[in-house]
């Protein structure tokens, strides 16, 4: 139990927790002590010797020089940071650390936010007295994200402690000894970790810097920044995009103690460059004519009114987006209502909608404990079901790695091994759609178990029995409602006296949980059936590429065939904008303000930056303009997301007051609100085990459409392939590299890869977001 003690720092008394880290105590209170190796997330190691102060166990004892990062607070302790001897010591330490440093600050990318500069100034070291030649190093090629400049290293070991110890990466090491320690890979090559970008922040000097930022470098103080929320998955990490002269230069994590704390994944850091991509929309279009964005918006209203007048209000429908804010989606709903229609849908398929709605309802219901990222780190036994956590919700994976470091066993149920599997206690490769049944078997110790899963289930049950804080993570992005339900059941069933099981689902987009709680939306089939049957003539689409919801370009084209008028609001060119009658361009996510709801039902407000350019309006602003053009501006007043969404009255109050620098609020449905109702799930019709099942594999780099527009992400994305288990390939007499033509069975074909970490009787293909420009280029090539 925590106990308060009183300690004295530089003559002032402070009440602190017994056992707290002295360095952290000082830093928290603005008492700056120079330090390098200590990092709040990485903990103390006492390696750099810089954080020395005079420390006495009590006022009547003499102080001794000691490392504050290695000292824990005890009652009566007297600490003197400004002790002369300590100051001289620190000055000397930093002089030694700087012996080999090249003093190249004017040309170093770290300048302006360099911890070494700050600590050197803080330690009062000014004059270099050594006259030796400095040791120099050769730098390595580390891939498209990170630039290496070893000469600047001061050997603090933060990089390997983050990369290896914290993120469990296996390809970065410390080599050599004494004054010739080298930090890098055994040989040149792309860093393997999905979290490599954090090296840029943890390295206190300019050894590891953001390679993309170097290309378009600006001093940090020249960047315009505003806290935002990452747009590339449902985790919702807090980020700090930096703009200059109209372009995005880089993205850094912003501290958020309730979500990502200090770090972000490489998709979040390097994917934001989509903002600068040539396929960003820079002008409006109406029937092929290039016109001003606002003029298009006004013309769209005219066309919609005409269609409503001719065919009635139900002839208009809208498709909202899980990558647009709650506000923009709400405004879309209001626009539709102002036209007299209610047909608005948000998801790619009815199944995905059902699963997401059920998962979101459970998440905000208060009926089970829902884990945040910091909660996940404390789990003592983890079950992951239904997908590749690293690829689909990367920062959840980093939290699970912390649980693993603390000894938690991880059990994974999925058709194909991902990055997390290498650290799992056990993985079971299953057919897609059977994860729910397996989870139920683990939770119910009386259930019979098939021979194949025997060892896995037995071990999982044992680990569960031994745990106090188990955690279940399940995918809500693949339309498997049975899995969503099974994870919920698992959590309730295994929460017993002395054990609290917690739960989290991950979703298909940064605001998927938010739109899943929408009030009165329609299943997507209602929209597509209406179009097919000629009832719906006009479609308004907000920030989504519909072609991604169809398995082929032909299907997509066929679905759009009957639409008389397609209007799209987006920031990038997609197959959908290309097919649209009217394109209304809006600014990118990092220039928009709004609210996203992440996987745990946390609403986070983000601030937009106003960046000069051909397009200046946000999606919400354009929608509001359209509503006003209809003469229905009154609907906007007070019409926040709180009325458009089933969000309880009390939390919406808090939501209205949310500021971007807040950690966000977790929404709980009020008791007066029923969780959104969902039709009971039909378990997916299990195909005969002899037939192949298709598994669309998500990748951290390549599967998400916005980040795919960032060149380094595209560089690392997989090429199209078809994967099979070697045994299955053998039965079919297929060899690695041969063309596997499964068009008849599964609608896929491509060069075959063998993967013995794929379930039997499953064919995997990568989900690839092919940038629109590339797609049309390919089409031209095919035509030519």
């Amino acid at each position: 139990m925590s106990q308060k003690v009183t300690i004295t720092i530089d003559g002032r008394a402070y009440e602190v927790e017994a056992g707290e880290n002295i360095l952290q105590i000082c830093l928290d209170r603005g008492l700056l002590i120079p330090h390098f190796c200590y990092h709040e997330a990485l903990g103390p190691v006492g390696a750099c010797r810089l954080c020395a102060a005079s420390i006495a166990p009590s006022a009547d004892k003499p102080g001794r020089l000691d490392m504050t990062c290695m000292t824990r607070a005890a009652d009566g302790m007297v600490i003197n940071i400004n002790d002369d001897y300590a100051r001289a010591f620190r000055k000397k330490v930093i002089e030694d650390l700087m012996l080999n440093h090249p003093h190249d600050c004017p040309v170093c990318d770290e300048g302006g936010e360099c911890m070494l500069q700050n600590m050197t100034v803080l330690s009062e070291h000014q004059h270099r007295s050594t006259r030796f030649p400095k040791r120099t190093w050769e730098n390595q090629y580390l891939g498209p994200f990170i630039h290496h400049e070893m000469n600047r290293c001061i050997t603090c070991y933060r990089c390997t402690r983050f990369y290896g110890d914290y993120a469990l990466g296996r390809d970065l090491g410390a080599f050599g000894s004494r004054n010739r320690v080298y930090f890098g890979r055994v040989r040149d090559g792309v860093l393997e970790s999905e979290f490599s970008g954090n090296l840029v922040d943890v390295c206190p000097t300019g050894v590891f810097t953001d390679k993309r930022f170097r290309e378009v470098y600006a001093r940090p103080w020249d960047l315009s920044t505003a806290r935002s929320v990452c747009v590339h998955c449902s985790v919702g990490c807090t980020v700090l995009p930096g703009f200059r002269h109209g372009t995005l230069r880089r993205i850094k994590p912003a501290e958020n103690s309730a979500v990502n704390r200090f770090f972000i994944c490489d998709r979040g850091r390097f994917g934001g460059e989509y903002v600068n991509h040539p396929s960003r929309l820079r002008s409006g279009r109406l029937e092929g004519q290039v016109i001003d964005p606002e003029e298009v918006a006004d013309a769209v209203i005219g066309r919609l009114k005409a269609i409503v007048a001719e065919h009635g209000p139900q002839s208009v429908a809208a498709l909202g987006s899980s990558r647009a804010s709650l506000e923009a989606n709400a405004a879309l709903g209001i626009l539709l209502a102002a036209l007299g229609s209610q047909t608005i849908a948000f998801f790619a398929s009815d199944a995905e909608r059902a699963a997401a709605r059920r998962a979101a309802a459970i998440t905000v219901s208060g009926q089970v404990r829902v884990a945040s990222l910091p909660d996940m780190e404390k789990a003592d036994c983890v079950f992951v079901a239904g997908g590749d956590l690293t690829a689909e919700a990367a920062m959840m994976d980093l939290s699970i790695r912390q649980a693993i470091r603390a000894g938690a066993p991880v059990f994974i149920l999925s058709p194909r091994a991902g990055s997390l599997d290498q650290y799992a206690r056990m993985s079971l490769r299953v057919r897609p759609g059977t994860e729910a049944a397996m989870l139920s078997q683990i939770a119910d110790s009386s259930a019979p178990v098939g021979t194949e899963a025997q060892a896995f289930v037995t071990a999982a049950r044992q680990a569960l029995a031994d745990s106090k804080h188990p955690l279940v993570l399940a995918s809500a992005m693949r339309g498997d409602t049975a899995l969503v339900e099974a994870a919920f059941e698992f959590t309730r069933r295994t929460t017993t006296e002395g054990r609290v099981c917690s739960l989290a689902y991950w979703f298909s987009g940064p605001n998927a949980a938010g739109v899943a709680l929408a009030n009165g939306d329609s299943p997507p089939s209602a929209v597509w059936d209406g179009i097919r049957d000629n009832r719906i003539k006009a479609l308004i689409v907000l920030e989504r590429d519909l072609s991604r919801d169809f398995s082929s370009e032909n299907e997509f084209a066929a679905a759009l065939k009957n639409i008389r008028f397609l209007a799209v609001i987006d920031s990038i060119e997609t197959a959908t904008t290309t097919a649209a009658n009217a394109v209304i361009p809006c600014v990118s996510h990092y220039q928009s303000s709004g609210t996203f709801m992440n996987f745990e039902g946390r609403c986070q407000r983000f601030a937009g930056l106003h960046i000069p350019g051909p397009v200046t309006r946000t999606n919400s602003e354009l929608l509001i303009r359209m509503i006003e053009a209809l003469g229905e501006g009154d609907r906007i007043a007070g019409a926040e997301y709180s009325t458009a969404y089933d969000i309880s009255a009390d939390s919406s109050l808090e939501l209205d007051a949310l500021e971007p620098d807040h950690v966000g609020v977790r929404v709980r449905l009020g008791s007066h609100l029923q969780p959104p109702s969902v039709a009971p799930a039909n378990p997916p019709t299990a195909s005969s085990p002899l037939q192949f099942a298709l598994w669309r594999t998500h990748f951290l780099f390549g599967s998400e459409e916005l980040s795919m527009l960032a060149p380094p992400i595209a560089e690392l994305s997989p090429k199209p392939w078809v994967e099979m288990h070697p045994e299955d390939a053998r039965h079919r007499r297929l060899t690695e590299g041969a063309t596997a033509d499964l068009t008849k069975e599964l609608g896929v074909s491509g060069p075959l890869r063998l993967n013995d970490r794929l379930a039997r009787h499953v064919v995997a293909v990568p989900v690839l977001a092919v940038p629109c420009a590339e797609r049309s280029r390919e089409r031209e090539e095919v035509m030519a």
Partner: protein
Amino acid sequence: MTTIPDLLRKELSDHCAHYASRRVGLIWVLQKLQAHFGGYLPDEAITLAAEIVGIPEPDVEGVATFYNWLFREPVGRRIIVVCDSISCHLCGCDSIVARIQKRLGIGMGETTPDGEFTLLPVVCLGNCDKAPTMMIGDELYDCLTPDKVDEILDSIYASAKAGGR
């Protein structure tokens, strides 16, 4: 990719199995591989050790580059290490090094063209009371003088010629 005899691989792997954590066996594995590869650890030895011990390659490279007696570059058949730490420094190790260098025609860290000797410095051989000292191969030589160095090298060359390598 270089391979090693199955028997050696098994011996190395079995050795690691003796410990609660396999990585404890790493240094011994590296010593064995160094002997197998003719006195040093080529890149493929690092990959092999990682595979046999079952740890990431950077961890192996970290150990292989840390210790004095693990070599990542080809070295001579005999390693000469001359102590340059305090006692030996006071007792004139500089003149010892100078004599060796003159005699063999190599600088510190270099190998003779005939591949016989590599010269390296070392920090204290624990033989300070008989400074200056050096080691050639497994043999320790103390109370050195430049002339004594000549004698030692002469006798080594003589026995090498006689086939007693």
